[in-house]
């Protein structure tokens, strides 16, 4: 009897685990394999080799550092229900709380925030298709309440590579197809403008450059001017954006870049080309190819620098914290010339 009940229990257990297995998506049919092997969790930063970094260093001609991040502060536009809030701890400033004869005082912060706020990097665990993420990882097995146990930021290599800026405002103006948005105080492409591969190629030609493996492409649309006006134009900034379409995303994949960034909150065109697709460019770049997206990049200063010097390339300086299991994080970026 005991044997029979054990057998029934085992059969039920097997059936249960079988149904669980069936419920999980076969990620080999949903997401392509990484070109860097079945254990790869690094993605496109694999392309930043010492040779790539050394070649990028040649972009530093006079040491000019161009800021490429927006301030992270209350009131900036945030996606959906995201928030960022800091709390300053000043205990040692209280009378008698200073330390030692030298009266040392200190302050520190508690930062309550989503990671995808302000100028930020989308990591490889940020975007999937069903439960399948970069390199066919069935993410359902690799998450707990606090973080991911695969594809976290700690697996990324350096972003010390060459940055290339394309000025889409100039491209559209030169092509006679610029429309703009009246809310922008400087020229900007309007939301819904689909940036194509041909547009990016025109932007590269404008500064007589081409993309090479390991580059980071930065797209100036002018839309970031609405971010700069925060909070006055947050609603307009959030309502959509100009950005790359599927055709451009696929071309960028073929160029073997590391990341694509822009002065918009999603880098891709919103509303998208097909109303039934959600953030499809994110899928193409991150999920399928391990190429990062960097959002809310401040591009106007570098665009002005490129216009005044006729050179759109720079050393891309961005450090990403080794935050274990995070899907992304706010970053500081500088373009060094």
């Amino acid at each position: 009897m005991r044997l029979a009940s054990s057998a029934v229990a085992i059969i039920l257990l097997l059936l249960g685990s079988a149904s669980l297995a069936v419920a999980q998506t076969d990620c080999t049919k949903v997401v392509p394999a990484s070109p860097w092997g079945p254990n790869d969790q690094t993605g496109a930063t694999n392309r930043v080799t010492p040779a790539v970094t050394k070649a990028a260093a040649a972009e530093i001609k006079d040491g000019n550092v161009i800021p490429m991040s927006y301030p992270l502060v209350d009131g900036i536009p945030l996606f959906g229900s995201r928030f960022t809030k800091s709390i300053l701890t000043t205990t040692s400033l209280a009378p008698g709380a200073a330390l030692g004869e030298n009266q040392l005082t200190y302050m520190e912060d508690t930062w309550l925030s989503q990671s995808h706020v302000g100028t930020h990097l989308d990591g490889l665990g940020h975007i999937g298709r069903k439960d399948c993420y970069f390199n066919q990882i069935a993410m359902g097995k690799f998450i707990n309440q606090n973080y991911m146990t695969k594809l976290g930021l700690e697996h990324l290599k350096t972003f010390a590579t060459r940055g290339v800026l394309v000025d889409m405002v100039k491209v559209y103006q030169a092509a006679g197809k610029f429309t703009g948005n009246p809310a922008c105080k400087k020229p900007c492409l309007d939301k819904g403008t689909v940036i194509t591969a041909a547009d990016i190629q025109a932007g590269l030609r404008m500064y007589n450059t081409t993309l090479r493996e390991g580059d980071i492409l930065i797209i100036h649309t002018g839309w970031g001017n609405l971010f700069e006006q925060f909070p006055a134009q947050n609603a307009t900034f959030n309502s959509g954006e100009p950005g790359i379409g599927k055709d451009a995303a696929k071309w960028l994949v073929s160029q073997k870049i590391v990341a694509v960034g822009g002065d918009t909150w999603g880098v891709e065109v919103i509303p998208g080309e097909d109303p039934k697709e959600a953030f499809i460019v994110h899928n193409i770049l991150i999920t399928d190819n391990g190429i990062h997206i960097i959002e809310n990049v401040r591009t106007d200063l570098m665009a002005a620098e490129a216009a005044s010097t006729g050179r759109s390339t720079f050393f891309f300086s961005m450090t990403v914290p080794k935050a274990v299991g995070l899907t992304g994080n706010f970053v500081g970026i500088e373009g060094i010339r």
Binding site: V194, N238, S239, I270, E273, P275, K276, A278
Partner: protein
């Protein structure tokens, strides 16, 4: 002799083959040139909207003319089309003036959205005389292809969804169906929609009692009309077919006010933004709100007309055949599929 006579023959053959090859190459070049020209060709397409008056809704749904126009602008991005937009303002003189302007501009195709049959009868010949093909939206233009809502299909979908729910969840209960909304709006063909809802309901529940409550287009009247009905029948379950989304939401509020949420199931028509929404909006149709008594709403997609109509226009411009009548593919949108059908994309 045999050899000498045999020698010229291949030369003639070679010349023929060479000529044929040259001809073929020329043909290929012509085809390529034509294909390239066709690929690069951009068309000027005029779209004369029914009305863009703020707050005015179209086709007995919650969609406005602005949403229709914006949908055309978004859809046009995928085609080699330069869109010229007119506002007919529901005014026949304005509609005819718009046609005259489009003829003056020598547009390649005219998309006409206007409700007046007499005007529409005049519009077709004028445009055709100018060599401009016409495509009509929702109201026929004689001899022009028509793209139109299918109120019969939409109503049937709503009726069947309600009846299936009633048959499944309320077996053994007294069940009454309620048709509520601007039931007398003949111009928006709402009576057609309501009749079809009735057919859908009766398909699964043939003996169902059906009440009709006409709000005259004012959702504020829903509370009074529906409140009185449910109060009079304290033990009855109600399958409520709302003719638009604002009415569906008002019906839910009325049941809530009467303490009868558990006794109602509602299906709306339209799927405008009032019932689904952006990323951080809490909306009735939402995967996190699967327990709502609003079972769903039948999509009318006025905000996506451009995505259906412009491909037809391009086929006409390419002189390919198009059906005389193309209808909207209506679908029941629920909490289970709303994010597939309307993925929230903005940050609002």
């Amino acid at each position: 002799m045999k050899e000498t006579s045999a020698t010229p023959a291949p030369r003639v053959g070679c010349r023929r083959i060479a000529r044929a090859l040259r001809g073929l190459a020329l043909l290929l070049i012509l085809v390529l040139v034509h294909a390239t020209a066709a690929q690069e060709r951009r068309w000027v397409v005029a779209f004369a909207n029914l009305t863009e008056e703020p707050g005015v809704t179209l086709e007995g749904t919650g969609f406005t003319g602005r949403e229709v126009r914006e949908g055309f602008a978004l859809a046009a991005r995928q085609w080699p089309i330069d869109l010229v937009v007119y506002d007919n303002r529901r005014d026949s003189r304005q509609a005819l003036a718009n046609v005259a302007d489009a003829i003056g501009r020598k547009v390649d195709l005219f998309i006409h959205y206007h409700a007046d049959a007499v005007t529409n009868a005049a519009v077709g010949p004028r445009l055709r005389a100018a060599g401009i093909p016409v495509l009509a939206i929702n109201y026929p233009v004689p001899d022009a292809p028509l793209y139109t809502v299918d109120n019969l299909a939409a109503g049937r979908i709503a009726g069947e969804a309600l009846a299936e729910f009633g048959a499944r969840a309320w077996r053994g209960h007294t069940v009454v169906a309620v048709l509520i909304g601007h039931l007398s709006a003949v111009e928006d063909r709402v009576p057609e929609r309501a009749k079809s809802v009735t057919e859908g309901l009766r398909r699964h529940l043939p003996t169902l009692k059906i009440a009709s409550l006409d709000t005259q287009g004012n959702p504020a009247r829903v509370s009074g009309l529906l409140g009185r009905l449910v109060t009079a029948e304290p033990r009855t379950k109600f399958l409520i077919a709302a003719m638009d989304d604002a009415t569906a939401l008002a019906a839910k509020a009325a049941l809530e006010a009467a303490g009868r949420l558990a006794d109602g199931a509602i299906v709306g028509h339209g799927v405008d933004r009032s019932i689904h929404g952006g990323m951080s909006e809490r909306k009735e149709l939402d995967p996190n709100n699967r327990g709502s008594i609003v079972l769903g709403s039948v999509a009318f997609y006025l905000d996506r007309y451009g995505y259906d109509v412009l491909p037809l226009a391009v086929r006409m411009l390419r002189r390919e055949p198009v059906p005389a009548r193309t209808v909207t593919h209506h679908k029941l949108i629920t909490a289970a599929n709303v994010f597939v059908e309307y993925p929230p994309y903005d940050m609002q």
